[in-house]
Every structure is written in C-alpha cells, then in structure tokens.
Symmetry: D2
Subunit: 371 residues, 4 copies
C-alpha cells in the first residue's frame, strides 16, 4: 500500500500541496450504485473550512469539489472516484520569507532531512489542507454506512485547553462553532478563544467520535483490528498525539471487576470497552478520542535554524488557528467512517457466505446492545 493511500478495500489516495495547483483524492473500491452529487460534499467541507468563524484561520477557499470520474448519471459505478479542488487562495507570499527556515513544531525540518528538498509554500504536503480530501472521502463513506447499515458517525469537542464540557448533548454540537456538546458553555469558550488569539498563542484540544448502529463482527484480528485501524487513522491526522478507545488511559487505574462489561439477555450492562472486544465490534456504540496539540504557527517569535545551519528567529505572520482542534471534528468523523466502511467490506468478503448459509451481517444472536 502506498503511503498516501488509506484503507484496504475502500482505498483513499490523496494528493496535493497547500499552495500547489490543486488538491484531490482517488477513492477506489467504492461499492457501485451509491447516489452522490457534488453538492453533497458542501456541508462537511464547510464544517471543516478555514475562515468559517473568527475562531479559525482566515483562508478563503470556495473548496468546490469536481468529480472527475467514477460517477455516471449520479451513481457510483464501482470504478475510481477522483475528486479535485483547485487552490484559489494560495497567497504563497505569506510564507515566502521563511522558505529556508525550519519552523519549530512543524514538519519543515523532517521533510527536508528525508527528501533533501521540500515545497515550503504553506507547509506544502504537510499542511492540514490535505485533510480536506479526507473529509470529502468521508462524505461518501458516511453516506454508504447510513444507507446500507444505518450506521451514524458523529464527532464533538470534549476538551479545549483545560475546559471540559459540563454536559454531553450531541444535539448541541452543530449549533455552535466549537462542536461543543454543552450549549451553555459557548460564551465562555468564545471569551477564552478571543483572549488566546489576542495573546498570539494557541492551545490543544480533544475530539471524541461516536458511531452508532454498528453490527457485531466488524474488525479483523490480529493486525487488522478495528481499534488498530482507528488508531492508525486518527494518529495520521495532523497534530494528533494520542488516541483512545473506550475508557482509554483511564483503564490504567481501573479494576478488572469494574472494567469488564457484563452481558445479559438485554445486552451489555456498560461500555467501558468502547464497543470493541478483541479488535471486533460488539454492536455497542463505538467510542474513541483524539488529542490535538496546539498549533506551532504563532506570531510569537521562536528560535530555530535554517537549511544552512544558521540560527534564526521565526515569526509566522500568515493566518493560523489558535486551536486547530476545532475544525478537526469533521476530519476525525471522516477517518472513523473510512475505517468502518473498509472493515464492513472486509467483513463481508471473508464472512458473507451468501447463497449457502443466510447472510451473516445480521447477528446470529440478537442482543439489545443498548448499553
């Protein structure tokens, strides 16, 4: 598998640099017959877009998706779906002055060490602009999951800096610019973010994703586990430094007698596991959490070196987000959805013996998996 491709059967290959002519992706392995139109990408691209509120950076891109292939008369044909977005607001001059400098906390240094050269315009390939195409591919994944299996994937912010939600009301999430699950904290967050932006500094964030409606059985042991795939998918997002499934790091201080989720005829009594046992979905709600570091692009000066080994002082004058985690919510959703559609296809490949036994997708033992 090439390193810019994701997924074993539902494979997404992304390309493009932040300030190159275009970014795009090729989705291979999509089941045929799914209805999809260019305008269906709009909602999630807007949710992710920079320049959406004053709390995110000011890049103005129309981000209009063009479908180059794989869709005929409004339906997927089973052949590769190529999506492309032209970069219209490149403004590469913002970054030109630091083309030879390594911005601390960025991939500048490592790309240059690895490849011997790099595209310095806006971070080039290492820019978060790449995640636009993850979101676009995720739109298709989410639609297929919803139509074929009734699976929904929803993300929300569960921490910004040291602020945590005082409620988990998923209906509130889309009603505020922070994807925050507690409506009454939005004012507090706005004040916090304004102060942060004024200070020139940035802060980290935690994003949770839940998926509902999964059948039991998705996930492939041992190195293709559902949680292993989720960890790889989420850790591959820019700025992510940690991934948790279910109770995550809280399990370290927990007891086995509490952690293990009991079963009864009416289903599981709890869900510490986050909906995965042995790398396979239990049929419960899938829960995962991701840690985003604070952005390193600040107008506060910082010491660094340039490609000649000279010491320099770096100041980022271009746009930047005081909390990159905010617009990471739809990206995390997309990555979870991409993992799920891939595992759904893998499961029916190995275990979907239609024609001999009855289709295996419905669970053999139906529990009320509502814990």
């Amino acid at each position: 598998m090439a390193s810019n491709s994701f997924g074993k059967l539902f494979t997404v290959t992304t390309f493009g640099e932040s300030h190159g002519p275009a970014i795009g992706c090729v989705i291979d392995g999509c089941p045929p017959g799914l209805e999809i139109a260019p305008e269906e990408f709009r909602r999630d691209l807007d949710r992710r877009a920079t320049g959406r509120t004053r709390h995110t950076s000011q890049r103005q891109e129309s981000d209009d998706i063009e479908i180059l292939s794989g869709v005929y008369q409004g339906r997927t044909t089973g052949t590769p779906i190529a999506l492309v977005i032209r970069n219209t607001d490149a403004r590469s001059k913002d970054y030109g002055s630091i083309a030879e400098q390594f911005r601390p906390g960025h991939a500048d240094y490592t790309y240059w060490q690895k490849y011997g050269l790099r595209d310095p315009r806006g971070g080039g390939r290492s820019s978060a602009r790449e995640t636009t195409m993850r979101v676009a591919a995720g739109v298709i994944a989410k639609k297929w999951l919803a139509e074929r299996y009734g699976v929904t994937v929803r993300g929300f912010m569960s921490q910004i800096g040291e602020i945590v939600p005082n409620a988990y009301d998923l209906s509130a999430v889309e009603e505020n610019p922070f994807f925050w699950p507690a409506a009454d904290q939005v004012g507090e967050l706005e004040t916090y973010m304004d102060a942060l932006r004024k200070s020139g500094d940035s802060v980290g964030a935690r994003v949770d994703v839940v998926a509902d409606g999964l059948p039991p059985g998705w996930g492939e042991p041992i190195y293709g586990k559902l949680d292993g795939d989720l960890a790889a998918a989420l850790m591959s997002i820019n700025a992510v430094k940690g991934v948790e499934i279910g109770d995550g790091f809280a399990v370290v201080a927990s007891k086995g007698s509490e952690h293990r989720d009991q079963l009864s005829r009416s289903g599981f009594a709890s869900n510490h596991a986050g909906g995965i046992l042995g790398g396979i979905s239990t049929g419960q709600q899938l829960r995962c959490s991701t840690a985003f570091k604070p952005t390193s692009s600040l107008r506060l000066p910082v010491r660094s070196v340039d490609i000649h080994g000279n010491e320099v002082e770096v100041i980022t004058t271009g746009r930047h987000d005081p909390c990159v985690g905010i617009r990471a919510t739809p990206i995390c959703e997309a990555m979870v959805a991409l993992v799920l559609v891939d595992q759904a296809l893998r499961h029916r490949a190995q275990c979907g013996d239609v024609g001999v036994v009855s289709p295996r997708i419905p669970a053999q033992l139906e529990l009320d998996a509502d814990a």
Copy 2:
C-alpha cells in the same frame, strides 16, 4: 495485506491458537546476512514469559523457538524466516467448562458473532499467547536496528494502577520483575500485587517505550507516518486501549508557545513531540506510551450469557495475571522495533539513491539531537 500480517517490507505473519498444536510466525523481507541463532530469542521470551514470577500467571512453557527456514549457516538468507513454538502446556481442560459461555471483557462474544464459531480453548486466537511471536520477531528487528543503525529500543512500566514511578532510571528496569524504573518502589509494588492477587481482582498498567539513535527521516507521510504506524502497532496488542506519542494527551491543555520544540545549532531544546514531526523522525529520542486495561479473567464471578442466549455466571478458574501490563513491556518494545525496521527499509527504498548522490541515511544537516 492479510490481517494477521504486520509491516509493509519487513512483514511478520503470525499464526496459532493458545491451545492448538503450535504458534509461529513467518518473517518476510528480512535483509540477508544478519547472524541469528535460536538461543538469541531466549532473553526476550523469558522477559515476556508467563510463570516468570509470582506476579504473573503460572503457565509453564519452555517456549523453545525452532527456526524452520530462512537461516543458513547462522545467517539470514533474505528468504522467509519461519519460527515455531510447540504448545506443550496446553491444559485445555481449565477452560472446557466455559466453552459455550462468553467471558465478559473478552473476545469470546465478538469472535463468535463474526465467524459463527470459535476455538474456546484458552481464548484461541485471541489469547495473548500470540504476542510470543511478536516478541520473537522483535528480537530480529532489534538486532538489525542495533547493528546497522545503532538504534536501541527499551521499554519500562510507567504506571501500575495508581502507582507512578518516582524516578526514571532505565538501568533499574531489568533488575526487578515489574520493569519498573525506580528501584526503591519495588517493595511497595510487591505488596500491592500480592494484595491484588489475594482479592481476585486485576488492575491496568501503562508501558512506555523509548528508542534512541534514530536518524532523522524515517516515516512516510501521509498514511504511513511513523506515529501512525506506531499507533496501529501498539493498539493491536491485546488489552491496549490508548496510545500516546511524546507528550500525548497532555498536549490538550498545553500552549503552542511551550509545546513547539525549539532548534538551535546544538539541536532541539526539548522533545515534547516525542521525536516525530509530520510523521517523520527528527533524530531525537522516540517516546511513546500505551495503556493496558486490567485483565477480565478473574475468579470473581460475573454475569454473562452463553451462545444459546441463556444467562450464566462466569468464573475463571484457570491461571491469570493480576496485571497483564507487566509482561507487556517486551511486547511493546517488539512492536516499536518492528515499526522501525520497516520504516528504515521503506526510507532507503524511496530515498536511498546510492551511486548518484551519497547515501542519504546520514543526515544532510548534522545537529546534536540530544534534547
């Protein structure tokens, strides 16, 4: 890639059930010419072995590795290296009584839902016995990394239940049965574990791994990032519920001005990133951390159901570990080493233009990466 295989170029495929005839692995893509002898696996297998101390479970296996292929006159030939260990202490009767029951917190339920049948003897394929072969493959990976690049990989426990080390002295780690980096806490841990075992309960753990001596440049953006691969590798280990790179979840509450690691002519001034930027190694120490849940196999009874939907009470009478995280340390080391050797090979494939430019493994800009 098959789901029981790990690694793109240095590929490890494991097989075997806990109480089947044997467990084993096939290592494909190993560079030729590496000296390896059966006895070199002994140390790490012993470090991981059950029955090592009274604090781990009592399974008595000699765990003698037989090399079936890929080694000639003591050297790897470049062809697949097959390793096999016979299961001598199967004792499947321990588990026989619960063959139709789903043990809460185990993969029993999900394997059965996925495949329609399962091997119930000792957890079958989902048993941690599979990790024996990860450790075996890791021995080869660690040796190659040390010989060719001077890279070392070392793990230690950084939390058991609520106890955290009061020092981080890696020289202490191999001197106590807990892989604990603070010698003066060993007595406290023994008391804690004895009480835990007496109570019939279990507790979680945190395991850290550090790797030293990496050159800058290892890791492949975007979906083949070094940290993405580490996340997948560590999350694939039984009982793992969280993975962190560098500062991990602590980044959520941190500021960008503090988190970004400054550079100077003498190298990086800090290492919050854990030695990875943009998915590529910086040349600093690699740091990652893993959360292990408490084992669910307890002699304390728990409610569950059986395959017929009947409600049952499950009691695990066989051996078990009160803290499975203890012997996870060599497993985590092995997974990190397997990721590193794979990325090393991938790097020299794409960027090792020997013959035209000088070999790219030495960094083009040599910093003292000692932060």
Copy 3:
C-alpha cells in the same frame, strides 16, 4: 504485500527451503466454517509428488501435512491456517559438491548476486519443493469454490516436447501418469520419456487449466483483472516462461470478426476470450495455458563459473525430472483456484450488497453460458 505471499484477501504465505527442516504455509482470510481434514491434502500432494512414477524424479517424501492452526473441530475458524511438512528425505549430500558452483538455467547465480549468500542445498528456496505448499493451499481453495459456487478447476497436459494431444477427453487425464487428455497416446509418451531419460536430457511442456461454473463478475479492473492475476500466479511457478488466456498468442494472426465471441439469448456462441472480458469473468469456461521450460538439472555436463569466478564444469548427479511440466498440472490448478477464491471474496466485498438489494452473486441477466 510481502513477496512470499500471494492473494489479496485469501492470502497464502509460503516458507521453507528444499533441504531445511520443513516447508509450510500460512493461509489467511479463509472463510470460516469450511470442513477440512489433514487427509484431504493427500490426493493433490500425491498427484504432484516426486517419485510417483518412473517418469518423475525419485525423491521419497511422505509429505504428511500437519495443520498447526486455524482449524477447530474439523472446521476453519477464520483465523490463519498454518500447514507444515517436515523434510524427511533431505539427502543434501547430493548437492554438496556444487555448493559454490552456479548451475546454468538455475537461480543459483541470481540468488547469490541478490542476497550475497544462498542456501545451496537442493536449490534452497528456489527449489520446486516450494510448490508443494501451493498445492496444499489450493486444496482448500478448490474445496471452497466447489462448495460455495460449484466451481471446478481442472488441469491437463496439452503438449510435451513436440507431442500434442489428438483428443481432449478430460476424463482420461487422471488415468495416466502424464495428465494426458488422450488415452491412446499414453504408450507413445512412455516410450518418448524413456528415451529422453536415457539420453540424460529434458524437454518442456504445456499445461492447460480450465475452470467451470464461474459466475459472471469476478475480476477487478484495472490492475486487479482476473487475467492479470492469473498471469502473475502462473508465471510465478518455477520454470514457467509463458502464459496465455483463451486463444493466447493465436490471436495475433486472427481477425476481429472471428475472434469476438457473439452473444445471443442462449449465451455466447464461442469462447475465444477464454471466459474473461475486460478482466472480468463472463460466466463461460475459464481457459488458460502455461509453458514450462525443460529442467536444467541434467547429468549432461555444462560449462559455468563458481562464486570465485573460476570456470567449472557442472554435472547434476542428483535425481531430476526429464519433464518438470508433468507434475506441474496440480500446481497450475492450485494457482488458478487461489486466484479464483481471492477474486470471489473481492467481488462480494465490493459488490455484495446483501440486505439492501438482493445478493449480487447470481447474475442479473441469466444467459445459458454454455459456449
């Protein structure tokens, strides 16, 4: 995918050297619930075995398969199936004298150039002994294809030296040691082979494989085409120098008006295409053909060099086949079966939308595909 692995979803990884302790394979991705017993491998291993008749070489191996994993109570569990055969008749002394010589027409020279060292005992990894495990894996593939889809895979010899069959009666194939489809030529072939063996020389062969009962729709464009996979699979067999689908090289001199297979309500009127159009099965009989070179291991002396660059004369004194193609028939069958099961799983992954539309495996338009 590792280079010793074959198949994307039904993945076979083989290991082992001709005169090492054992050869074996790991089959990953096999659907669960298939009944399989060790004795079921016997028939095809015998068909392939050396020493079967005086027309093949004299190596005496019991070739007893041991199933190390993946089968519980006689059924596949969905976890990796490891098969191993101990090498009992190693007789490595036969080859010892030429350990430093490069046998012309063999892989000795190229393995040594590639890896810098090689296992010279009986050809090491490059020995045709590896194909034993292809045949073993093929047994499982053929059984699954027959049970789930009614697909049968049958091979036969279609040329030995310059002799071609005067009839194509598949019922005759298993009744003679040459897999020859014309019973009345068997005497002629025996005389021919006896003379050949007496001369110390060898001759090439052509092996055909046909598969019946395929549904339309198997095969994945563009680089995962059914014919592309078959070509890779067959060309990977030792000594193969050519692969044809359908009419093969005869198409070069044919006209389009003759070659294109017409359709009517009663199906295709002919099958020049060999059952594949655009890389996807038509539902007709699959036909492919493979060219085997004459073995290079002869007791007739030949000039060569050794690893020091000295010129030497090489004489192979060990056993060898005057026509290696004879026992290639079950190997070719196995490779075709492995391709088919893999494509079957890939097809139902992408196109098997059970639960929403009716299962797609039955063709939407039923033609009598009997041409």
Copy 4:
C-alpha cells in the same frame, strides 16, 4: 492494494473514463530530486496517441498533461505526483445508440454483470484511453531508470497478423508508424493495413520489449518475481491475451541441454531465459513479448443482446483501430519500466545495506553479461 493501483513501492493509481471530464493518475513513492517537466510527457504520449497516422483511429486529443502536485521547482519532492488530462474530444454521441447493447468482445457485458450499471460512453473505464496514464507514469519511470542505473527500455512490433519482421534493427523502430524493426517492410505493412481498414476488419499483433543495463539482483521471489510482475503488468493492458519471457512458448519443444544458458568468465553464452532466473534479473538483456487480440469494434455487424435480454445487431460506427497493437508499443514499454523501477526500489530496501557493507547495487561478481 486497490485494484486501480499498480506497483508496491512506486505506485501508480489511475482514474478516469473515456468520455468523462478527465483521466489522470497519482504516482506515489517516486524518489525525490528527479527533474521532470510537463513537456517531457509529450514524446511518449504522441507515440501512443490515436490519430497519429491513418493506420490508427481518429480521436483528436491534445493530451496535455497538467502536473497537479508532487513537483516543486521542476523536481520531484517525494510526495504524490498527480497528473491529469482533460478529455476534450469526447464525442460521446458516437456510442450513444448502443448504450444498452453489449458489444461482443468488449467489457460491456462483464462490467454490467459485475457492477449492475456501467458508463457506456466510449467504453467508460474499460476504454484503452486509460493506458494514456500508464504511458505518462512510464515516462517518469524510464527517466529515473536511465539516470540512476543507465537502464533503457525499448519496444517494437514483432508481428502484425501473419507478418513477421525480416530483421531486428531497433534503430528503425521509431522511423515508421508501425514501430517495425525492419525498414524495408514498411511499404508492405501500409498496403496490408489499408486493405484491412477497407475490409472493416481488424487483426492482432505481437509487441516485444527489451530492457538493457539491468544489474543482476532485481526481482523478489516467490510471488514478487520479476517475471511474475511483468506478466501481471503486461496482461493488465487492454486486449492482451498472452505474455512470454525470453523464449516463451518455444521452450515447450526445446531440450534442457539447449535451453540452459551457459556461463563463463566472459558472461552468459546465450539468453534463452530472457534475462531472468528464479524471478531475479541476471544482468543480461530483459526480453518479453505480448499478444494483442484484434479489436472487436468493427463496422461489420455482429449479433448480440442488450441489457433487457433482447437480441440485437451491433455495428460500431465510431472511430476504431484496425490493429490496436500498433500503438500498444509505448504502453508495453511503460509497463515494463514501471515494473523495473518498483523492483529497483524493493531491491535496495531489502538488500541495500549502506553503511555496513558497501552498497549492494553493484554486482559482487562482475561478469561481461553481453550475451
């Protein structure tokens, strides 16, 4: 690996339909630092282009490549290279009348059976237009091979219908529209093709490719053999029905004493093997041959059925080639080059132990491999 991707480390993913908005490809894993400009694609695209002479079909496309990513300041950066060509001369009306008919000898029927729908415009995804992007990717592959290893890849026609070359002068190949290696037969071929076009029929072709300058050691046993990869690559081209390496099917009637290529201090004495032994390059000239069927798109009527099962008469009124094999020459070259660059990278990944031993790319034993 997704089915529209080719190559393990140098990975080419193509997308696009014949009459959709665009066709394109993404090349992942290309070594950094290679100079490449849009105009460098021109020569090979012209060599392959339709409408080049009166002997090929009349589609008029400018086929201007746009580089969307992966190249900065004229050099590859190591990130994905996306190439795209807009379809300007779509003329889908040519094909509109047969949108519901299955053209015999085409993929219409099988795509429809597999996916349940298909893009009928110009053959959609199954059109040979896809091969444009193979040629484009091959330009990069050929340049890298030439610069880094001095490897050249050249194709020529070795048969059209029943006409075979009376000489093999590679310097003549680019001087005539048939890629024919015998200048004095060009007139005969023109007469032959004119008559064929007048008749409304078509004919098959054979295309050979030779590669010179390979070092010994490229190719990965067992299922990643150089010849196995070549077979898959060439068989994946539209209309190919056979692939040969070296002497190909002629080996069937040959003797072992003649076929095996002897070695001496001055190199190999012959090259029946085609430069590959055991799946690994010998350092000799690589030789392979490919059979192209006659195109099935004819203005001669033919019986078929439509998607409703009605019997119909199909006449192709659009442009078509009387011998599709003619412009297949640069496509075959491209596929061989893509295999070689991929294997070159794979070889240095496993065997390029720079820093410990001297680089392994130069052969350890230097023979004059000039046979």
